[in-house]
């Protein structure tokens, strides 16, 4: 293995069994052996709901991971993303030596610490102090190492006053914080972290991310699994995208995340009319278009320029009361950043006879930074009954421009909102 690599995997595969064959008791194995050939025992059935055909090996085995080849250089922070069941945790388990691959091999250079669960081995009857030592030992720290970092750990977890209280009296948040604090102060060459930051309050999450950044900057190799794309993008230089047991994309984390969104957003290829929605269906959002200040139809908006969005609705059952439309704008990470509602201005859509109607949203100045945004459309009537609600109905592409008129074009990573300001 090349000296600059921390992890190298070749033809790595992991097979798992479905059903209960081979796990149970000697008695069952013996009876299976006795009955061999007489009547084939079908265990678990042959139709395996939820697992794609391509992943099945035979009736009762499937590839959790199939033929993975990758290299991770030393000192790199790598994100691992993918939908549920794509094999992320299996890969982490193999890399942290908890289980072996069925085929292929993986070479790992250096001391590995894995954090697949917070507070592994915590004993409820022991005090916080004792558990720090137990947990540290399980994760591979010597007693002296824990001694040296003990105050730091306790301080990081914020449980100083409770350190001599049994863990069973801790709140769940405190337990988790203590668990993470121990792990965050490990000193491995390679740190493997599964989705564990999702716990704890926001302040603690930020502290964890800072700590991870610190670890990353100290030249350690970090492998990080998360479903929070913003965190991955922040923390990781590169990333792998796993899908159904295979790495389908790897590269800079930004690119990989975009690719992931594409695969997750396959529903966008569906026309607006056929999208999954809620409401009574009396009216349906069927299309939208964007026009610029000159009234020309365009594909995207431009920062700082005026634009008009036109939303076309089809009427299936004529409505008797007036309607009200609101639009929610979210970032690509699904953070809602704006809520635009007709009610704010006392506007409403009067009942009409036609089969379609169009609602215009005028933006005098697009105050969003370049990037991709999603618009949720919500139509209800005066009684509050939902008529048509489409989450992330369409995508808005906003293009860069000289928003402030100073020749400095705001970059895509410099915030979401552009606002008028001046310094004195």
């Amino acid at each position: 293995m090349d000296g600059s690599l921390a992890i190298q995997a070749t033809n790595l595969s992991k097979k798992y069994r479905l059903g209960t064959i081979g796990i149970t008791s000697l008695r069952e194995d013996l009876s299976r052996w006795w009955n061999r050939g007489k009547n084939e025992i079908t265990d678990g059935g042959s139709t395996q709901a939820g697992i794609e055909h391509s992943r099945m090996i035979n009736d009762h085995e499937f590839w959790a991971l199939h033929d993975l080849n990758f290299e991770i250089p030393q000192g790199e922070v790598v994100g691992l993303i993918g939908a549920n069941g794509s094999g992320k945790s299996t890969l982490l388990k193999i890399l942290s030596r908890i289980t072996e691959p069925s085929e292929g091999e993986v070479k790992v250079r250096g001391k590995v610490a894995s954090l697949l669960e917070v507070g592994t081995g915590f004993h409820p009857e022991l005090t916080g102090r004792e558990n720090v030592y137990v947990n540290g030992a399980i994760l591979g720290m010597t007693r002296r190492e824990v001694d040296k970092k003990f105050d730091e750990i306790v301080d990081f977890a914020g449980v100083t006053d409770f350190i001599d209280t049994p863990i069973k009296r801790y709140s769940s948040g405190m337990t988790v914080r203590l668990g993470f604090a121990v792990a965050a102060h490990l000193d491995p060459d390679i740190l493997i972290v599964d989705e564990v930051l999702a716990v704890g309050d926001l302040r603690f999450q930020n502290r964890c991310i800072n700590q991870m950044q610190k670890i990353a900057q100290s030249g350690k190799t970090v492998l990080f699994v998360s479903h929070q794309m913003a965190t991955v993008e922040n923390l990781c230089k590169s990333a792998f995208l796993l899908d159904r047991g295979k790495i389908i994309y790897s590269g800079f984390s930004g690119e990989v995340i975009n690719e992931y969104r594409k695969t997750m957003n396959e529903s966008f290829s569906l026309s607006l009319k056929e999208r999954k929605r809620e409401g009574n269906g009396k009216c349906k959002l069927v299309s939208f278009r964007i026009t610029n200040q000159d009234g020309e139809q365009v594909d995207s908006l431009i920062c700082g320029k005026p634009a008009t969005l036109a939303l076309l609705f089809e009427v299936h059952t004529p409505c008797t009361s007036a309607l009200c439309l609101s639009l929610g704008i979210s970032t690509a990470n699904r953070h809602r950043i704006a809520h635009l509602c007709m009610k704010t201005f006392g506007k409403r859509i009067e009942p009409m006879e036609q089969n379609t109607f169009e609602v215009f949203l005028h933006l005098p100045k697009v105050e969003l930074n370049q990037g991709k945004y999603y618009v949720t459309s919500f139509l209800d009537d005066e009684s509050g009954e939902i008529i048509d609600w489409v989450v992330d109905a369409f995508e808005l592409q906003i293009l860069e421009s000289d928003f402030y008129g100073t020749g400095m074009i705001p970059k895509s990573d410099q915030g979401v909102i552009l606002m008028e300001h001046s310094f004195a």
Binding site: R17, I23, L26, K93, S114, L116, T120, I138, G140
Partner: protein, 231 residues
């Protein structure tokens, strides 16, 4: 920890008083207790490790460390129980030596010098068998039932409630095949000067122990690599 003490009392009543199984002239309490404390150490090493995979499944699924640490630490922590029981034994020993007169004199012998080796031998035997059992119980859950039964059967096959010398001549060879037989006999010989000391039999036990331990470790290591997939 109190189990050997309790068993000693029961054995003294049932086998000593009612069944009147000879105890080589020793006070039954001392006779049974000496056998039981070394046996109970063996038994903790054996039964304590028999379910080591299933007992630690939760941790094994989340973090890697050499799994052999668990069985080893079980054996070491069982030594604490053994030492406490040994202190109790010393109490009875002094009681019968200096206060209550006994028909036959007894004393500790030179074999006390090999006591550490004897304990190591017991630990290896218990660990070896425990590792084997842990491999089996990880694969087949029904072996959990067998562990207790096996330990019990082995206890009666070991000269704890009877001296080896009381076993009829034609069966004695078979009784000696039990590697724990010579160990318990030697242990009693060391502490009380009764029982028997046979270097041949001890060597035999040591060979069995090493074989059990090495093969047990081999299969344990082999099992640990993928055991979390089916725990």
């Amino acid at each position: 920890m109190l189990q050997p003490l309790f068993l000693t009392v029961v054995f003294t009543l049932i086998f000593g008083k009612f069944a009147q199984i000879p105890t080589e002239g020793l006070p039954p309490l001392l006779f049974y207790n000496s056998g039981l404390i070394i046996w109970s150490y063996f038994s903790s090493c054996f039964t304590g490790n028999a379910s080591v995979f299933t007992a630690n499944a939760g941790i094994y699924q989340k973090v890697y460390y050499p799994r052999l640490i668990n069985p080893l630490s079980n054996c070491i922590s069982a030594l604490f129980g053994f030492s406490i029981q040994a202190v109790f034994f010393l109490g009875y020993f002094c009681l019968y030596k200096f206060i209550i007169p006994t028909a036959t004199p007894f004393e500790m012998t030179w074999a006390m010098l090999i006591l550490p080796l004897l304990i190591l031998l017991v630990a290896s035997l218990g660990l070896g068998m425990g590792l084997w059992m842990s491999v089996l119980t990880a694969k087949y859950r029904d072996f959990n039932q067998i562990t207790g039964f096996l330990a019990q059967a082995l206890m009666y096959a070991t000269p704890i409630i009877y001296p080896l010398s009381e076993v009829p001549e034609k069966y004695r060879f078979w009784a000696s095949l039990n590697p724990m037989a010579s160990v318990v006999e030697t242990f009693r010989f060391a502490l009380l000067g009764k029982g028997s000391f046979s270097l041949n039999l001890l060597c035999y036990s040591a060979i069995v122990a090493v074989m059990l331990l090495l093969s047990g470790m081999f299969f344990f290591k082999r099992t640990e690599r993928r055991v979390v997939d089916y725990l």
